[in-house]
């Protein structure tokens, strides 16, 4: 089964990391991802730009409204996501725990199984 593992954290803290701190965290995260990638179970991984770069299109009365940012008042923001292929939820929990243990922030990981997934071929 495919799961999305969504990473939520305090954005301001994450963007306070120095270059060295950031590199150290990313290296540890890669180390956790590597075995999964080698076994062919790791799908696309995305790290999102800050919510200040986000735009929301919301249904309006006549026409859809375009709003800056996701929601200004949210404390934790969606910062990135993984797509993984696991037999059981337990495996997904174990993987998320590993990610959590190397991520120094008060990060939470939300595990959501997929109904539909199209890998697509966009890349940049």
């Amino acid at each position: 089964m495919l799961y999305a593992i969504l990473c939520y954290a305090h954005e301001e803290t994450v963007f306070a990391w120095s270059k060295e701190e950031e590199a150290a965290v990313m290296e540890k995260l890669y180390a956790v991802q590597e075995p999964l990638a080698a076994s062919g179970k790791l799908g696309p991984v995305g790290r999102l730009m800050p919510t200040t770069a986000a735009t929301t299109v919301r249904k309006g009365k006549d026409e859809a409204l375009v709003i800056d940012g996701p929601f200004a008042e949210t404390k934790e923001a969606l910062l990135g996501f993984y797509v993984v292929d696991f037999e059981t939820l337990d495996e997904a929990i174990t993987f998320s725990k590993q990610l959590s243990s190397v991520n120094p922030g008060s990060t939470s990981y939300e595990i959501r199984p997929f109904y539909v997934f199209r890998p697509g071929d966009a890349s940049s």
């Binding site: 305090h10 954005e11 301001e12 803290t13 963007f15 306070a16 990391w17 120095s18 701190e21 150290a24 965290v25 730009m49 800050p50 919510t51 200040t52 770069a53 735009t55 375009v66 709003i67 800056d68 940012g69 200004a72 008042e73 404390k75 120094p104 922030g105 008060s106």
Partner: protein
Amino acid sequence: MTDIAWIDLALASARPKALGALLRYFHNLDTAEEAFQEACLRAIRTWPEKGPPRDPTAWLIFVGRNSGIDAVRKRTKLQALPDEDLISDTEDAESDIAERLDDSHYRDDILRLLFICCHPDLPATQQIALALRIVSGLSVPQIAQAFLVSESAMEQRITRAKARVAKAGVPFETPSLEERAERLSIVSTMIYLVFNEGYSQADPKHEAAAFSDEAIRLARLMLHLFPSEPELMGLLALMLLQISRRPARFSGEDEIVLLEDQDRGLWNQPFINEALALLDKALRHRQPGPYQLQAAIAAIHSRAKRAEDTDWVEIDLLYRALERLQPSPVVTLNRAVVVSKLQGPQDALDLIDPLGEKLGGYFYYHGLRGGLLKQLGLTCQAREAFDRAIALAHSAAEAAHIRRQIDKMQEEATQPIAE
């Protein structure tokens, strides 16, 4: 990262919000700072054991407020603060405070805090120093080193600035929409000054170089609180575009590498991408401002794969718009560079000659003038302009850059004309 490093980071990122809230509470910068210090000390003592609280900023405000009240009480010889254990158990109070202190409350607190630092009575260098000390929490030695003054001199400078601000008084009521817009614009200017203080340093390892990152952090914070301000988007985009070029701006020997000669592969692409996204968002608002225009100009350079792909016509249009919106001899000087690309050195020279009176003490004016005269083959006049530029250079790298141009000119002069 160790526990302590992580706590340091959490404290640093909570600082502007917590300090802003404490300032609103105590109406006194020194009391607010002391209260925040005390809260940080308690955090360092209790967090490693109990783990970080759910909302560190709310925790710090709560504990800081209690300790501030305690300090005031001690002075009036009243009841002391409850034991630390009681204070540390702030789970309920903290979530309560977190409920009430969402971003909309922080907004004016932080704006007020930053606004204090850029009080119009203070010269720009003091504004920068004060913001770095109070809002960013940099130490006095760090700031002193960056400004190349002694610690005691910087300490004095900051104390004097604080006294001046305190005497002038700071309005604590919530600003009206107009006042808020005005404050935002003043604060944006100060943030950009902090950025430039760091960016103008040739050596990226220089103390002041970190100011650029700090300015970007402050701009991110502001944009979080005011997510629909196109000029804040423009400011952040502009700084990200400029800093994206930092790895390419200097060659191995600390020599300045001009934009057109930079290795574009060294530019930081994630920064550029974020800036372009922000700029796209800003332009949708159709409220052009100086930062958006400058960011748009920088974006055109960033979009060009090679220097010769640069869309100078578009850049010229943007500079003309900038000249209309915010006329200044420096903007015209920058447009002259574009004119030299589009129409040649003589037209550019005609454009900048009338600026001599205002920009006579400006390094770039003489540097550009020398370059244009050199292109026209007026070697003697070029040499004169270059000499004046060297005398006005801010850094060794700037002076060396001009000297190389002189050397090149001399080499060309002594070489036999090619057959």
